[in-house]
């Protein structure tokens, strides 16, 4: 028998005692909500009136023709309110927070997407909100910080450790253990202590449920393959969920290959050789760590994939061979971004573009009556500072320099 909160060898809830009671309550409310069809209906209604669910499934005809193989479909999580799938999880947790009677939410954020989504949800539900964000990420994602603050949230730059996502998580936990009575920690991905992996995956399952129906209508049958980028794993779990038990649907998770999985500068947990089983940030999974169990620095052009751990549910699916894992390098991501914009007029987030990379590698080998879905977890136009920078765009640089000149006067 698998232990509560575990997925095979992975998961669990490695939490300080002070959180024990709050996790018990969270678990209780989550399970009650899960068993209550009215809750899910409330969630779906909220998402369809406040965000734009169901999000479309776009048949990328030009890309399909370009590669001459599989029919490529793109699940458009970019069209969610706040621009990414993060909204699904956050709004769902918002409803739970209301049920739990708490008045304050906190969250970690890397790319800033989850922070913006949480600040948005807090504004909508009238919660106080504090967002923890590594100082490095605050610097590279200033626009997101601006919006979070405008939405009424307090953004706390985290100056410890690698000053990125994992440090923001640690800091959020420190807040939580201090303010546990009033506060819910809105975990941003399918990681962390149980029940977060399961709960986040449950809220995100709305993506796969929609895609399943849409694919039947638009393609007439199940997809042969489904691609999703894997940071913490929430968008992947979201789209994979409904298809896990379907025959003949291959699921592919794409991790951040950074400068190459052989360089050590990446965030490939399940497809490289640098990760090993470990326990940190409250859960057991494959971590990028050294022999002593100290976490390593990671690298990706996509802040949202730049993380040491991965969903324990995905570690389990990996171990069972139910999901194939690959990596996309920063360079491949930029190339694919370029192609996708030019061919389809669609701007994937840097994170999402990782899924596109592998899909584009595989599509030409497939037959034209097979369909594949790429989960486009978010939109890239929020990443203008990163993307314009990565493309080394001269007029962008000139624009920034000129703006700065005005501000320095």
């Amino acid at each position: 028998m698998v232990k509560k909160g575990y997925f095979g060898n992975w998961g669990g809830a490695f939490i300080p005692e002070v959180l024990h009671q709050t996790f018990a309550e969270l678990e209780h409310h989550f399970k009650t909500a899960q068993a209550d069809p009215a809750f899910w209906q409330e969630y779906v209604d909220l998402m369809s009136t406040y965000s734009c669910r169901p999000t479309p499934l776009t048949h990328a005809e030009n890309l399909s023709k370009h590669f001459g193989g599989a029919q490529i479909y793109i699940k458009r999580e970019d069209l969610n309110h706040t621009g990414a799938h993060k909204a699904n999880n956050v709004m769902g947790q918002g409803l739970l927070v209301k049920r739990m009677g708490k008045t304050r939410v906190i969250a970690e954020t890397g790319a800033g997407q989850h922070g913006v989504a949480t600040a948005t949800m807090a504004a909508k539900f009238g919660f106080d909100c504090t967002i923890y964000m590594g100082e490095v990420d605050v610097q590279r994602q200033r626009p997101n910080v601006f919006w979070m603050e405008k939405m009424g949230a307090t953004v706390v730059p985290v100056r410890d450790g690698s000053r990125t996502l994992k440090d923001a998580i640690n800091e959020a936990f420190r807040d939580w253990v201090t303010n546990v009575d009033t506060t819910h920690y809105v975990f941003g991905t399918a990681c962390g202590p149980a029940p977060f992996p399961e709960m986040v995956s449950w809220f995100q399952s709305i993506v796969g449920n929609e895609a399943y129906e849409q694919m039947r209508i638009q393609h007439g049958k199940n997809p042969a393959r489904i691609y999703a980028c894997v940071g913490g794993g929430s968008n992947a779990m979201g789209i994979f969920g409904r298809f896990l038990e379907e025959e003949g649907v291959e699921l592919i998770g794409v991790e951040a290959g950074g400068k190459g999985v052989e360089t050590g500068q990446h965030a490939a947990r399940l497809c490289g050789n640098d990760a090993s089983p470990g326990v940190a940030q409250g859960y057991r999974t494959m971590f990028l760590q050294n022999d002593d169990g100290q976490m390593l620095e990671t690298h990706s052009v996509a802040a949202g994939l730049d993380y040491v751990g991965v969903s324990p549910i995905l570690s389990d699916l990996w171990e069972q061979g139910k999901v194939r894992f690959t990596a996309a390098t920063d360079q491949e991501v930029m190339d694919v971004l370029d192609l996708t914009m030019k061919k389809e007029g669609i701007i994937p987030a840097l994170e999402s573009a990782h899924g596109f990379v592998q899909a584009f590698k595989d599509a030409p080998e497939m037959s034209t009556d097979e369909g594949i879905i790429i989960n486009m977890s978010g939109r890239g136009d929020k990443d203008i500072f990163t993307i314009a920078h990565a493309f080394d765009d001269p007029s962008w640089k000139e624009f920034i320099v000129q703006r700065a000149r005005e501000y320095s006067k």
Binding site: K3, G12, A13, F14, I15, P16, E17, V18, L19, H20, Q21, T22, D160, G161, K166, N170, F173, R174, V177, T178, N179, V180, D181, S276, P277, G278, V279, A280, Q281, G282, R284, F287, Q289, D291, D292, G293, Q294, M295
Partner: protein, 255 residues
């Protein structure tokens, strides 16, 4: 029962014991050695040595920084184990390791406990390891007479306290308040009734930690707790005044 027996013996002639904390390798093993010597010389009853971890989620800024700085200068787990062995051999008080679970997990739970036994370590504090999460760890520790110290918090219910009491040994570490290490706690009425709840749930000695910083704090614990834990405060002291300030500080605490 080794650790608990030891503490009970000390309690025969002291109304409250003192446990102190250091982060291994911070600022260096040499300074650790000197600080421990001064602690022991000035009457500390028990020392928890923290093996640094890159993600010290339950620690406040002072201890967190000490963890990260120690790792930054290259501190390895093996070195910590060797140093612990040296200390246990040098001094007669009980020594504990405090660390996060991943250090133990990665080392191998059995192997780690073996190493503790060999080093003469008497207890282990692992703040992110609730008893449900590793049956192996708790079984091995108890078999090898290494006390797994469990933690009570003001949010723990009576049932939970009983459960923890069943799995832990040595003593119960009662955190004085919600939050992380390093910030002063109010030892007020709520706190007293919390400690009464703790006492009602266990027959083990009660240690109180988180924000204990002065002789006054320790006086407030007399009669309701068995051991006071000084954490961040000595690290601050060493940072600001050097290791030689530790002896007088402890002497003053002991009153």
């Amino acid at each position: 029962m080794q650790l608990e027996q030891h503490l009970r013996k000390s309690l025969e002639h002291k109304d409250i014991l003192l446990m102190t904390h250091i982060v291994l390798g911070y600022p260096s093993f040499e300074v650790n050695r000197e600080v421990i010597r001064q602690m022991v010389d000035n009457g500390v009853d028990c020392i928890e040595m923290q093996i640094p971890f890159s993600e010290p989620m339950a620690d406040g800024p002072v201890i967190m920084k000490a963890n990260l700085d120690s790792l930054a200068i290259g501190t390895r787990v093996e070195e910590c184990l060797a140093f612990g062995k040296e200390m246990a051999a040098t001094h007669s008080i009980p020594f504990l390791y405090m660390t996060y679970y991943n250090i133990i997990f990665k080392y191998g739970e059995e192997r780690f406990i073996e190493a503790c036994t060999e080093a003469g370590i008497t207890g282990l504090i692992v703040p992110d390891l609730p008893p449900e999460q590793s049956e192996i760890f708790f079984r091995h520790a108890r078999e090898r007479n290494i006390a797994p110290i469990l933690i009570y918090s003001p949010t723990s219910t009576h049932e939970r306290m009983k459960e923890l009491d069943d799995s832990g040994s040595g003593f119960i570490y009662c955190v004085a308040r919600r939050g992380v290490t390093g910030k002063k706690s109010d030892l007020d009425e709520d706190f007293t009734s919390y400690l009464q709840r703790c006492r009602a749930a266990t027959s083990k000695p009660l240690a109180v930690g988180f924000g204990i910083q002065s002789a006054d704090d320790i006086n407030a614990l007399r009669g309701i707790a068995d051991m006071a834990v000084i954490g961040s405060q000595t690290i601050r002291l060493v940072d600001e005044q050097g290791p030689e300030a530790v002896g007088p500080f402890i002497a003053e605490l002991r009153g």
